[in-house]
Protein backbone atom coordinates (compact mmCIF):
# COMPACT_ATOMS: atom_id res chain seq x y z
CA UNK A 1 0.00 0.00 0.00
CA UNK A 2 1.41 3.33 -0.96
CA UNK A 3 1.50 6.17 1.48
CA UNK A 4 -0.76 9.14 1.00
CA UNK A 5 0.24 12.72 0.69
CA UNK A 6 -0.90 14.65 3.74
CA UNK A 7 -4.05 16.73 3.38
CA UNK A 8 -3.10 20.27 2.39
CA UNK A 9 -4.79 23.41 3.69
CA UNK A 10 -4.98 26.40 1.35
CA UNK A 11 -3.74 29.64 2.93
CA UNK A 12 -7.19 31.26 3.21
CA UNK A 13 -8.71 28.21 4.94
CA UNK A 14 -5.70 28.00 7.19
CA UNK A 15 -6.45 31.56 8.27
CA UNK A 16 -10.07 30.61 9.05
CA UNK A 17 -8.83 27.63 11.03
CA UNK A 18 -6.62 29.86 13.16
CA UNK A 19 -9.52 32.19 13.73
CA UNK A 20 -11.64 29.23 14.84
CA UNK A 21 -8.91 28.03 17.18
CA UNK A 22 -8.70 31.48 18.73
CA UNK A 23 -12.47 31.60 19.10
CA UNK A 24 -12.47 28.21 20.82
CA UNK A 25 -9.91 29.44 23.33
CA UNK A 26 -12.12 32.45 23.98
CA UNK A 27 -15.06 30.07 24.42
CA UNK A 28 -13.12 28.08 27.00
CA UNK A 29 -12.25 31.22 28.95
CA UNK A 30 -15.81 32.59 28.83
CA UNK A 31 -17.45 29.30 29.81
CA UNK A 32 -14.94 28.68 32.59
CA UNK A 33 -15.74 32.13 33.95
CA UNK A 34 -19.49 31.39 33.74
CA UNK A 35 -18.99 28.05 35.50
CA UNK A 36 -17.04 29.71 38.33
CA UNK A 37 -19.52 32.57 38.83
CA UNK A 38 -22.48 30.18 38.70
CA UNK A 39 -20.88 27.97 41.32
CA UNK A 40 -21.24 30.72 43.91
CA UNK A 41 -25.00 31.05 43.43
CA UNK A 42 -25.89 27.36 43.02
CA UNK A 43 -27.82 27.08 46.28
CA UNK A 44 -29.81 23.87 46.52
CA UNK A 45 -31.71 24.46 43.28
CA UNK A 46 -31.87 21.54 40.87
CA UNK A 47 -32.34 23.97 37.99
CA UNK A 48 -29.14 25.79 38.83
CA UNK A 49 -27.25 22.53 39.23
CA UNK A 50 -28.44 21.30 35.83
CA UNK A 51 -27.73 24.57 34.05
CA UNK A 52 -24.32 24.62 35.69
CA UNK A 53 -23.47 21.11 34.53
CA UNK A 54 -24.65 22.00 31.05
CA UNK A 55 -22.18 24.87 31.02
CA UNK A 56 -19.43 22.51 32.13
CA UNK A 57 -20.43 20.11 29.33
CA UNK A 58 -20.24 23.01 26.89
CA UNK A 59 -16.48 22.95 27.48
CA UNK A 60 -16.21 19.52 25.84
CA UNK A 61 -16.75 20.45 22.15
CA UNK A 62 -14.18 23.29 22.19
CA UNK A 63 -11.64 21.06 23.93
CA UNK A 64 -12.35 18.27 21.42
CA UNK A 65 -11.94 20.77 18.59
CA UNK A 66 -8.61 22.06 19.88
CA UNK A 67 -7.22 18.53 20.28
CA UNK A 68 -8.57 17.21 17.01
CA UNK A 69 -7.35 20.06 14.82
CA UNK A 70 -3.86 19.11 15.98
CA UNK A 71 -4.29 15.36 15.57
CA UNK A 72 -5.90 15.46 12.12
CA UNK A 73 -2.95 17.40 10.70
CA UNK A 74 -0.41 14.73 11.57
CA UNK A 75 1.16 13.34 8.41
CA UNK A 76 0.31 9.82 7.24
CA UNK A 77 3.05 7.38 8.23
CA UNK A 78 3.78 3.68 7.90
CA UNK A 79 1.61 2.78 10.89
CA UNK A 80 -1.22 5.08 9.78
CA UNK A 81 -0.94 5.16 5.99
CA UNK A 82 -4.37 6.82 5.65
CA UNK A 83 -3.49 9.66 7.96
CA UNK A 84 -5.59 11.02 10.82
CA UNK A 85 -8.46 12.87 9.15
CA UNK A 86 -11.03 10.61 10.81
CA UNK A 87 -9.97 11.85 14.25
CA UNK A 88 -12.76 14.44 13.89
CA UNK A 89 -15.44 11.79 13.63
CA UNK A 90 -14.05 9.92 16.63
CA UNK A 91 -14.03 13.09 18.73
CA UNK A 92 -17.56 13.74 17.54
CA UNK A 93 -18.74 10.31 18.74
CA UNK A 94 -17.03 10.67 22.11
CA UNK A 95 -18.31 14.21 22.73
CA UNK A 96 -21.89 13.40 21.77
CA UNK A 97 -21.92 10.20 23.83
CA UNK A 98 -20.79 12.23 26.84
CA UNK A 99 -23.62 14.70 26.28
CA UNK A 100 -26.18 11.92 25.94
CA UNK A 101 -25.10 10.13 29.12
CA UNK A 102 -24.92 13.33 31.17
CA UNK A 103 -28.32 14.41 29.85
CA UNK A 104 -29.91 11.10 30.83
CA UNK A 105 -28.31 11.25 34.25
CA UNK A 106 -29.60 14.78 34.86
CA UNK A 107 -33.07 13.93 33.59
CA UNK A 108 -33.23 11.01 36.02
CA UNK A 109 -31.98 13.29 38.77
CA UNK A 110 -34.75 15.78 38.02
CA UNK A 111 -37.61 13.28 38.15
CA UNK A 112 -36.36 10.86 40.80
CA UNK A 113 -36.64 13.10 43.87
CA UNK A 114 -40.03 12.51 45.48
CA UNK A 115 -42.16 15.68 45.49
CA UNK A 116 -42.25 15.82 49.28
CA UNK A 117 -38.47 16.13 49.50
CA UNK A 118 -37.86 18.19 46.43
CA UNK A 119 -39.14 21.54 47.63
CA UNK A 120 -36.24 23.71 46.54
CA UNK A 121 -34.87 25.95 49.23
CA UNK A 122 -33.24 29.15 48.08
CA UNK A 123 -32.02 31.08 51.07
CA UNK A 124 -30.14 34.31 51.58
CA UNK A 125 -26.73 35.52 50.52
CA UNK A 126 -24.67 38.40 51.83
CA UNK A 127 -24.11 40.84 48.99
CA UNK A 128 -22.35 44.15 49.65
CA UNK A 129 -23.17 43.84 53.35
CA UNK A 130 -26.88 43.20 52.80
CA UNK A 131 -28.86 40.00 53.07
CA UNK A 132 -30.52 39.39 49.73
CA UNK A 133 -32.54 36.50 48.43
CA UNK A 134 -30.14 34.17 46.57
CA UNK A 135 -32.72 33.92 43.77
CA UNK A 136 -31.91 37.46 42.62
CA UNK A 137 -28.20 36.86 41.94
CA UNK A 138 -29.19 33.54 40.37
CA UNK A 139 -31.49 35.30 37.89
CA UNK A 140 -28.84 37.90 37.08
CA UNK A 141 -26.15 35.25 36.54
CA UNK A 142 -28.48 33.15 34.39
CA UNK A 143 -29.33 36.05 32.08
CA UNK A 144 -25.69 37.17 31.91
CA UNK A 145 -24.43 33.66 31.23
CA UNK A 146 -26.88 33.01 28.38
CA UNK A 147 -25.77 35.97 26.27
CA UNK A 148 -22.05 35.39 25.55
CA UNK A 149 -22.57 31.81 24.27
CA UNK A 150 -25.27 33.03 21.89
CA UNK A 151 -22.89 35.63 20.44
CA UNK A 152 -19.97 33.21 20.24
CA UNK A 153 -22.19 30.57 18.64
CA UNK A 154 -23.24 33.03 15.96
CA UNK A 155 -19.60 33.83 15.26
CA UNK A 156 -18.66 30.16 14.96
CA UNK A 157 -21.28 29.20 12.36
CA UNK A 158 -19.68 30.84 9.29
CA UNK A 159 -16.27 29.52 10.31
CA UNK A 160 -17.65 25.99 10.61
CA UNK A 161 -19.10 26.29 7.11
CA UNK A 162 -15.87 27.68 5.66
CA UNK A 163 -13.67 24.87 6.94
CA UNK A 164 -16.42 22.23 6.72
CA UNK A 165 -16.13 21.32 10.39
CA UNK A 166 -19.03 19.34 11.81
CA UNK A 167 -17.78 19.39 15.40
CA UNK A 168 -17.46 23.16 15.27
CA UNK A 169 -20.88 23.42 13.66
CA UNK A 170 -22.54 21.27 16.32
CA UNK A 171 -20.76 23.30 18.97
CA UNK A 172 -21.97 26.54 17.43
CA UNK A 173 -25.55 25.28 17.29
CA UNK A 174 -25.41 24.22 20.94
CA UNK A 175 -24.09 27.62 21.94
CA UNK A 176 -26.86 29.35 20.04
CA UNK A 177 -29.37 27.11 21.83
CA UNK A 178 -28.20 28.48 25.19
CA UNK A 179 -31.26 30.73 25.18
CA UNK A 180 -33.38 27.64 25.85
CA UNK A 181 -31.34 26.74 28.92
CA UNK A 182 -31.42 30.37 29.99
CA UNK A 183 -35.18 30.73 29.57
CA UNK A 184 -35.92 27.39 31.28
CA UNK A 185 -33.63 28.21 34.18
CA UNK A 186 -35.19 31.66 34.58
CA UNK A 187 -38.57 30.00 34.71
CA UNK A 188 -37.32 27.54 37.34
CA UNK A 189 -35.80 30.10 39.69
CA UNK A 190 -38.55 32.67 39.20
CA UNK A 191 -41.13 29.92 39.70
CA UNK A 192 -39.59 29.02 43.05
CA UNK A 193 -39.71 32.71 43.86
CA UNK A 194 -43.48 32.85 43.46
CA UNK A 195 -43.90 29.72 45.53
CA UNK A 196 -44.27 27.11 42.77
CA UNK A 197 -42.06 24.47 44.32
CA UNK A 198 -42.34 22.15 41.30
CA UNK A 199 -40.97 24.78 38.87
CA UNK A 200 -37.39 23.95 39.86
CA UNK A 201 -37.59 20.26 38.97
CA UNK A 202 -39.61 21.03 35.82
CA UNK A 203 -37.00 23.49 34.54
CA UNK A 204 -34.20 21.07 35.37
CA UNK A 205 -36.02 18.42 33.35
CA UNK A 206 -36.41 20.74 30.34
CA UNK A 207 -32.70 21.55 30.39
CA UNK A 208 -31.65 17.93 30.74
CA UNK A 209 -33.97 16.88 27.91
CA UNK A 210 -32.29 19.54 25.78
CA UNK A 211 -28.89 18.04 26.63
CA UNK A 212 -30.20 14.56 25.74
CA UNK A 213 -31.46 15.97 22.43
CA UNK A 214 -28.06 17.49 21.64
CA UNK A 215 -26.40 14.20 22.47
CA UNK A 216 -28.77 12.08 20.40
CA UNK A 217 -28.78 14.30 17.32
CA UNK A 218 -25.00 14.58 17.27
CA UNK A 219 -24.33 10.93 18.09
CA UNK A 220 -26.52 9.82 15.21
CA UNK A 221 -24.77 12.27 12.89
CA UNK A 222 -21.35 11.04 14.04
CA UNK A 223 -22.28 7.39 13.57
CA UNK A 224 -23.62 8.06 10.09
CA UNK A 225 -20.39 9.82 9.21
CA UNK A 226 -18.32 6.87 10.37
CA UNK A 227 -20.51 4.64 8.19
CA UNK A 228 -19.40 6.72 5.19
CA UNK A 229 -22.85 7.91 4.36
CA UNK A 230 -23.54 10.07 1.36
CA UNK A 231 -21.64 13.35 1.93
CA UNK A 232 -23.70 16.36 2.91
CA UNK A 233 -23.08 20.00 3.70
CA UNK A 234 -22.20 20.84 7.30
CA UNK A 235 -25.78 21.95 7.89
CA UNK A 236 -26.76 18.38 7.03
CA UNK A 237 -29.85 19.00 5.00
CA UNK A 238 -28.43 19.04 1.50
CA UNK A 239 -26.20 16.62 -0.44
CA UNK A 240 -22.74 18.05 -0.85
CA UNK A 241 -22.80 20.15 -4.09
CA UNK A 242 -19.19 19.16 -4.76
CA UNK A 243 -20.37 15.72 -5.86
CA UNK A 244 -22.32 17.16 -8.78
CA UNK A 245 -19.46 19.41 -9.73
CA UNK A 246 -17.06 16.44 -9.84
CA UNK A 247 -19.54 14.50 -11.95
CA UNK A 248 -19.98 17.38 -14.39
CA UNK A 249 -16.24 17.72 -14.80
CA UNK A 250 -15.70 14.00 -15.39
CA UNK A 251 -18.55 13.73 -17.88
CA UNK A 252 -17.27 16.78 -19.78
CA UNK A 253 -13.85 15.16 -20.24
CA UNK A 254 -13.54 14.28 -23.98
CA UNK A 255 -12.18 10.73 -23.50
CA UNK A 256 -14.79 9.72 -20.94
CA UNK A 257 -17.86 7.87 -22.09
CA UNK A 258 -19.46 7.03 -18.73
CA UNK A 259 -18.56 7.31 -15.05
CA UNK A 260 -19.40 6.31 -11.52
CA UNK A 261 -18.54 8.87 -8.84
CA UNK A 262 -18.15 7.36 -5.40
CA UNK A 263 -17.20 9.91 -2.79
CA UNK A 264 -17.16 9.81 1.01
CA UNK A 265 -16.24 12.16 3.81
CA UNK A 266 -13.06 11.57 5.68
CA UNK A 267 -13.17 14.17 8.38
CA UNK A 268 -13.51 17.46 6.55
CA UNK A 269 -11.97 16.02 3.37
CA UNK A 270 -13.91 14.47 0.50
CA UNK A 271 -12.21 11.44 -0.95
CA UNK A 272 -13.16 8.39 -3.04
CA UNK A 273 -13.04 6.62 -6.38
CA UNK A 274 -14.05 7.76 -9.84
CA UNK A 275 -14.52 4.79 -12.16
CA UNK A 276 -14.48 5.92 -15.79
CA UNK A 277 -15.40 4.02 -18.97
CA UNK A 278 -13.31 5.41 -21.87
CA UNK A 279 -14.93 6.50 -25.10
CA UNK A 280 -14.85 4.01 -28.01
CA UNK A 281 -11.44 3.66 -29.55
CA UNK A 282 -9.65 5.72 -26.89
CA UNK A 283 -6.70 4.08 -25.20
CA UNK A 284 -6.43 5.45 -21.65
CA UNK A 285 -2.93 6.49 -20.70
CA UNK A 286 -1.42 7.27 -17.29
CA UNK A 287 -1.39 10.92 -18.41
CA UNK A 288 -5.16 10.85 -18.89
CA UNK A 289 -5.73 9.39 -15.45
CA UNK A 290 -3.34 11.78 -13.68
CA UNK A 291 -4.71 14.74 -15.60
CA UNK A 292 -8.30 13.94 -14.66
CA UNK A 293 -7.35 13.38 -11.00
CA UNK A 294 -5.51 16.70 -10.83
CA UNK A 295 -8.42 18.48 -12.47
CA UNK A 296 -10.87 17.02 -9.93
CA UNK A 297 -8.68 17.85 -6.95
CA UNK A 298 -8.32 21.40 -8.29
CA UNK A 299 -12.11 21.96 -8.03
CA UNK A 300 -12.05 22.43 -4.29
CA UNK A 301 -9.56 22.22 -1.44
CA UNK A 302 -11.55 19.48 0.27
CA UNK A 303 -11.22 17.03 -2.64
CA UNK A 304 -8.34 14.87 -1.59
CA UNK A 305 -6.61 11.68 -2.67
CA UNK A 306 -9.10 10.93 -5.45
CA UNK A 307 -8.52 7.61 -7.24
CA UNK A 308 -9.38 7.57 -10.95
CA UNK A 309 -9.86 4.04 -12.27
CA UNK A 310 -10.47 3.26 -15.94
CA UNK A 311 -12.80 0.33 -16.52
CA UNK A 312 -14.93 -0.98 -19.42
CA UNK A 313 -17.74 -1.77 -17.00
CA UNK A 314 -18.17 0.81 -14.24
CA UNK A 315 -20.30 -0.51 -11.32
CA UNK A 316 -24.00 0.18 -11.35
CA UNK A 317 -25.26 2.91 -9.05
CA UNK A 318 -26.94 1.51 -5.95
CA UNK A 319 -30.60 2.32 -5.49
CA UNK A 320 -32.73 3.24 -2.49
CA UNK A 321 -32.08 5.81 0.20
CA UNK A 322 -32.75 3.92 3.40
CA UNK A 323 -31.45 5.49 6.59
CA UNK A 324 -31.83 3.27 9.68
CA UNK A 325 -30.82 6.13 11.99
Amino acid sequence: MSMRQGFRWPADKEAVLHKAIRLQWITLVVFSAIVVVMYFVLGSSQTMKTAWIEDILALIPPIAFLIVTRVERLRPNRTFPWGFLRAISIAYVVASTTLLCMGLYLARDAVSTPPTESRPTIGAMTLFGREVWLGWPMLVVLVASAIPPMIIGRMKLPLARAIHDKVLYADAEMCRAEWLTGAAALFGVAGVGVGLWWADAAAALIISVDIVRDGTVNLSRAVRDLLDRHPTTVERDRPDPLIDRVKELVVATPWVHDCTVNLRNEGRALTGDIVVAPADGHTVSAHDVDGLRDAIEAINWRLYDIAVMPSFSPPQAVSGAHDPF
Binding site: E117, R119, P120, T121, I122, G123, A124, T126, E131, W133, G135, L139, V143, W179, L180, G182, A183, A184, L186, F187, A190, V192, G193, V194, G195, L196, W197, R229, H230, T232, E235, R236, D237, R238, P239, I243, D244, K247, T260, V261, N262, A317, V318, S319, G320, A321, D323
Partner: protein, 242 residues
Protein backbone atom coordinates in the same frame (compact mmCIF):
# COMPACT_ATOMS: atom_id res chain seq x y z
CA UNK B 1 -24.74 6.94 -7.31
CA UNK B 2 -25.28 10.52 -6.34
CA UNK B 3 -28.56 9.80 -4.64
CA UNK B 4 -29.78 12.17 -1.99
CA UNK B 5 -30.02 10.05 1.14
CA UNK B 6 -30.55 12.96 3.42
CA UNK B 7 -33.84 13.45 5.14
CA UNK B 8 -34.68 16.99 6.06
CA UNK B 9 -33.71 17.99 9.60
CA UNK B 10 -36.17 19.38 12.13
CA UNK B 11 -37.75 22.64 10.98
CA UNK B 12 -36.91 25.85 12.79
CA UNK B 13 -39.84 27.42 14.56
CA UNK B 14 -38.37 30.85 14.98
CA UNK B 15 -41.58 32.49 16.10
CA UNK B 16 -42.24 30.08 18.96
CA UNK B 17 -38.64 30.35 20.09
CA UNK B 18 -38.70 34.09 20.27
CA UNK B 19 -42.00 34.13 22.14
CA UNK B 20 -40.70 31.61 24.67
CA UNK B 21 -37.53 33.60 25.12
CA UNK B 22 -39.43 36.83 25.64
CA UNK B 23 -41.60 35.08 28.20
CA UNK B 24 -38.58 33.80 30.11
CA UNK B 25 -36.94 37.20 30.09
CA UNK B 26 -40.05 39.12 31.09
CA UNK B 27 -40.89 36.84 34.00
CA UNK B 28 -38.52 38.34 36.59
CA UNK B 29 -39.75 41.85 35.79
CA UNK B 30 -43.33 40.80 36.30
CA UNK B 31 -42.34 39.09 39.53
CA UNK B 32 -40.54 42.13 40.85
CA UNK B 33 -43.93 43.79 40.99
CA UNK B 34 -45.34 41.24 43.43
CA UNK B 35 -43.85 40.18 46.75
CA UNK B 36 -40.86 38.03 46.00
CA UNK B 37 -39.95 35.42 47.04
CA UNK B 38 -43.09 33.74 48.35
CA UNK B 39 -43.56 30.55 50.38
CA UNK B 40 -45.21 27.53 48.77
CA UNK B 41 -47.08 27.06 52.08
CA UNK B 42 -47.36 30.78 52.91
CA UNK B 43 -45.61 30.50 56.31
CA UNK B 44 -44.45 34.12 56.49
CA UNK B 45 -47.90 35.47 55.63
CA UNK B 46 -49.62 33.13 58.08
CA UNK B 47 -47.38 33.87 61.07
CA UNK B 48 -47.43 37.64 60.54
CA UNK B 49 -49.90 38.97 63.10
CA UNK B 50 -50.64 35.40 64.20
CA UNK B 51 -48.82 32.60 65.95
CA UNK B 52 -45.36 31.15 65.25
CA UNK B 53 -45.20 27.49 66.17
CA UNK B 54 -41.67 26.98 67.52
CA UNK B 55 -40.06 23.64 68.34
CA UNK B 56 -37.47 24.04 71.10
CA UNK B 57 -34.75 21.44 71.60
CA UNK B 58 -32.89 21.30 74.91
CA UNK B 59 -29.46 22.83 74.47
CA UNK B 60 -28.37 25.15 77.27
CA UNK B 61 -27.44 27.96 77.23
CA UNK B 62 -29.18 28.47 73.85
CA UNK B 63 -32.46 26.88 74.86
CA UNK B 64 -33.53 25.02 77.98
CA UNK B 65 -36.75 23.76 79.54
CA UNK B 66 -36.56 24.70 83.23
CA UNK B 67 -40.23 25.58 83.63
CA UNK B 68 -43.47 25.71 81.67
CA UNK B 69 -41.84 28.05 79.13
CA UNK B 70 -38.40 27.60 77.61
CA UNK B 71 -35.59 30.06 78.25
CA UNK B 72 -32.22 30.77 76.67
CA UNK B 73 -30.56 32.94 74.08
CA UNK B 74 -32.25 31.41 71.04
CA UNK B 75 -35.60 31.50 72.81
CA UNK B 76 -35.16 35.24 73.44
CA UNK B 77 -34.14 35.80 69.82
CA UNK B 78 -37.18 33.93 68.57
CA UNK B 79 -39.55 35.84 70.85
CA UNK B 80 -38.04 39.07 69.54
CA UNK B 81 -38.35 37.92 65.91
CA UNK B 82 -42.01 37.07 66.52
CA UNK B 83 -42.55 40.54 67.96
CA UNK B 84 -41.22 42.17 64.78
CA UNK B 85 -43.99 40.31 62.93
CA UNK B 86 -46.62 41.17 65.58
CA UNK B 87 -46.78 37.46 66.22
CA UNK B 88 -46.93 35.37 69.36
CA UNK B 89 -44.58 32.37 69.73
CA UNK B 90 -46.15 29.08 70.75
CA UNK B 91 -43.46 26.81 72.21
CA UNK B 92 -43.36 23.07 71.63
CA UNK B 93 -41.24 20.54 73.49
CA UNK B 94 -41.11 16.98 72.31
CA UNK B 95 -38.52 14.30 71.85
CA UNK B 96 -35.88 15.50 69.38
CA UNK B 97 -36.79 13.54 66.25
CA UNK B 98 -40.47 14.19 66.74
CA UNK B 99 -39.81 17.93 66.45
CA UNK B 100 -37.67 17.44 63.32
CA UNK B 101 -40.43 15.39 61.73
CA UNK B 102 -43.07 17.91 62.76
CA UNK B 103 -41.08 20.63 61.00
CA UNK B 104 -40.61 18.47 57.91
CA UNK B 105 -44.40 18.00 57.71
CA UNK B 106 -45.04 21.67 58.36
CA UNK B 107 -46.77 21.16 61.74
CA UNK B 108 -44.39 23.70 63.26
CA UNK B 109 -42.79 26.74 61.62
CA UNK B 110 -39.38 26.94 63.25
CA UNK B 111 -36.95 24.67 65.05
CA UNK B 112 -34.37 26.08 67.49
CA UNK B 113 -32.11 24.84 70.27
CA UNK B 114 -28.46 24.31 69.38
CA UNK B 115 -28.90 23.17 65.78
CA UNK B 116 -25.60 23.15 63.87
CA UNK B 117 -24.76 23.56 60.18
CA UNK B 118 -23.56 19.98 59.60
CA UNK B 119 -26.86 18.52 60.81
CA UNK B 120 -27.69 15.15 59.22
CA UNK B 121 -31.22 16.45 58.52
CA UNK B 122 -29.90 19.04 56.08
CA UNK B 123 -31.63 17.43 53.07
CA UNK B 124 -35.00 17.31 54.81
CA UNK B 125 -35.12 20.65 56.58
CA UNK B 126 -34.06 24.09 55.40
CA UNK B 127 -31.30 25.52 57.58
CA UNK B 128 -30.23 29.13 57.81
CA UNK B 129 -26.59 29.91 57.30
CA UNK B 130 -24.63 29.97 60.58
CA UNK B 131 -25.35 33.12 62.58
CA UNK B 132 -23.15 32.29 65.56
CA UNK B 133 -19.97 30.23 65.85
CA UNK B 134 -19.06 28.43 69.05
CA UNK B 135 -15.51 27.26 69.76
CA UNK B 136 -15.13 24.72 72.54
CA UNK B 137 -11.82 25.47 74.26
CA UNK B 138 -10.07 24.95 77.56
CA UNK B 139 -9.52 27.85 79.91
CA UNK B 140 -6.39 27.63 82.08
CA UNK B 141 -6.21 28.79 85.67
CA UNK B 142 -4.91 32.14 84.43
CA UNK B 143 -8.30 32.65 82.79
CA UNK B 144 -6.85 32.43 79.27
CA UNK B 145 -7.46 29.66 76.69
CA UNK B 146 -4.72 27.02 76.65
CA UNK B 147 -2.64 26.43 73.50
CA UNK B 148 -2.38 22.71 74.25
CA UNK B 149 -4.01 20.41 76.77
CA UNK B 150 -1.75 17.45 76.05
CA UNK B 151 -1.27 15.51 79.31
CA UNK B 152 -3.17 18.06 81.43
CA UNK B 153 -6.08 17.30 83.78
CA UNK B 154 -9.16 19.12 82.51
CA UNK B 155 -12.40 19.54 84.44
CA UNK B 156 -15.43 18.49 82.41
CA UNK B 157 -19.13 18.37 83.24
CA UNK B 158 -20.29 15.57 80.98
CA UNK B 159 -19.09 12.50 79.10
CA UNK B 160 -19.31 14.21 75.71
CA UNK B 161 -16.83 16.89 76.79
CA UNK B 162 -14.72 14.18 78.41
CA UNK B 163 -14.46 12.45 75.04
CA UNK B 164 -13.39 15.66 73.29
CA UNK B 165 -10.76 16.34 75.96
CA UNK B 166 -9.44 12.79 75.69
CA UNK B 167 -9.27 13.06 71.87
CA UNK B 168 -7.08 16.16 72.25
CA UNK B 169 -4.70 14.28 74.57
CA UNK B 170 -6.03 15.73 77.85
CA UNK B 171 -7.10 13.81 80.96
CA UNK B 172 -10.76 14.49 81.74
CA UNK B 173 -11.54 14.82 85.46
CA UNK B 174 -14.63 15.78 87.43
CA UNK B 175 -15.55 19.46 87.83
CA UNK B 176 -15.12 18.99 91.58
CA UNK B 177 -11.42 18.18 91.10
CA UNK B 178 -9.55 21.15 92.63
CA UNK B 179 -6.21 20.28 90.99
CA UNK B 180 -7.51 20.49 87.40
CA UNK B 181 -5.29 22.55 85.09
CA UNK B 182 -8.25 23.99 83.22
CA UNK B 183 -11.94 23.75 82.45
CA UNK B 184 -13.87 23.51 79.18
CA UNK B 185 -15.49 26.74 78.01
CA UNK B 186 -17.27 27.99 74.92
CA UNK B 187 -16.06 31.08 73.07
CA UNK B 188 -18.72 32.67 70.87
CA UNK B 189 -18.18 34.80 67.79
CA UNK B 190 -20.02 35.98 64.69
CA UNK B 191 -19.36 34.20 61.38
CA UNK B 192 -16.56 35.99 59.57
CA UNK B 193 -14.79 36.98 62.77
CA UNK B 194 -11.41 35.47 63.49
CA UNK B 195 -11.19 32.24 65.45
CA UNK B 196 -9.83 32.68 69.00
CA UNK B 197 -6.23 31.74 69.76
CA UNK B 198 -5.59 28.49 71.56
CA UNK B 199 -6.53 24.85 71.08
CA UNK B 200 -10.08 24.44 69.75
CA UNK B 201 -11.63 21.11 70.73
CA UNK B 202 -14.70 21.57 68.55
CA UNK B 203 -16.33 24.22 66.40
CA UNK B 204 -20.12 24.45 66.22
CA UNK B 205 -21.77 26.69 63.62
CA UNK B 206 -25.20 27.48 64.99
CA UNK B 207 -28.24 27.66 62.75
CA UNK B 208 -32.02 27.49 62.95
CA UNK B 209 -34.31 25.45 60.72
CA UNK B 210 -37.54 26.02 58.82
CA UNK B 211 -39.56 23.79 56.52
CA UNK B 212 -38.00 22.97 53.12
CA UNK B 213 -38.95 25.43 50.40
CA UNK B 214 -40.39 28.17 52.66
CA UNK B 215 -38.08 30.70 51.07
CA UNK B 216 -39.68 33.96 52.16
CA UNK B 217 -39.85 32.81 55.78
CA UNK B 218 -36.25 31.56 55.59
CA UNK B 219 -35.07 34.84 54.09
CA UNK B 220 -36.87 36.83 56.79
CA UNK B 221 -35.28 34.68 59.49
CA UNK B 222 -31.81 34.99 57.94
CA UNK B 223 -32.11 38.76 57.64
CA UNK B 224 -33.09 38.91 61.30
CA UNK B 225 -30.28 36.62 62.50
CA UNK B 226 -27.60 38.28 60.42
CA UNK B 227 -28.65 41.70 61.63
CA UNK B 228 -28.40 42.76 65.26
CA UNK B 229 -29.58 39.37 66.54
CA UNK B 230 -26.19 37.67 66.21
CA UNK B 231 -24.47 40.48 68.14
CA UNK B 232 -27.10 40.44 70.87
CA UNK B 233 -26.84 36.68 71.20
CA UNK B 234 -23.07 36.87 71.53
CA UNK B 235 -23.33 39.57 74.20
CA UNK B 236 -25.92 37.53 76.12
CA UNK B 237 -23.74 34.42 75.93
CA UNK B 238 -20.68 36.31 77.15
CA UNK B 239 -22.77 37.25 80.22
CA UNK B 240 -23.77 33.62 80.77
CA UNK B 241 -20.13 32.56 80.52
CA UNK B 242 -19.03 35.12 83.09
Amino acid sequence: MCVNMQRSERPHTGFERRRLLALGMAMPLVLAACRFPRDPSDTLERVSGGTVEVGVLESAPLAAWNGPDPEGVEVDLTADLAQTLSARPNWHARRDMALHEALERGDIDLLIGGLVADDPWSGRLAFTRPYLVESLMVEGRSGRPLDSIDGLEIAVGNTYLAGLVADAGGLPVSVQEPAAAGKAISIWRLPGEEAPEGEILLTRRHVMAVRLGENAWLLHLEQYLRGQAGRRARAALAMVQA
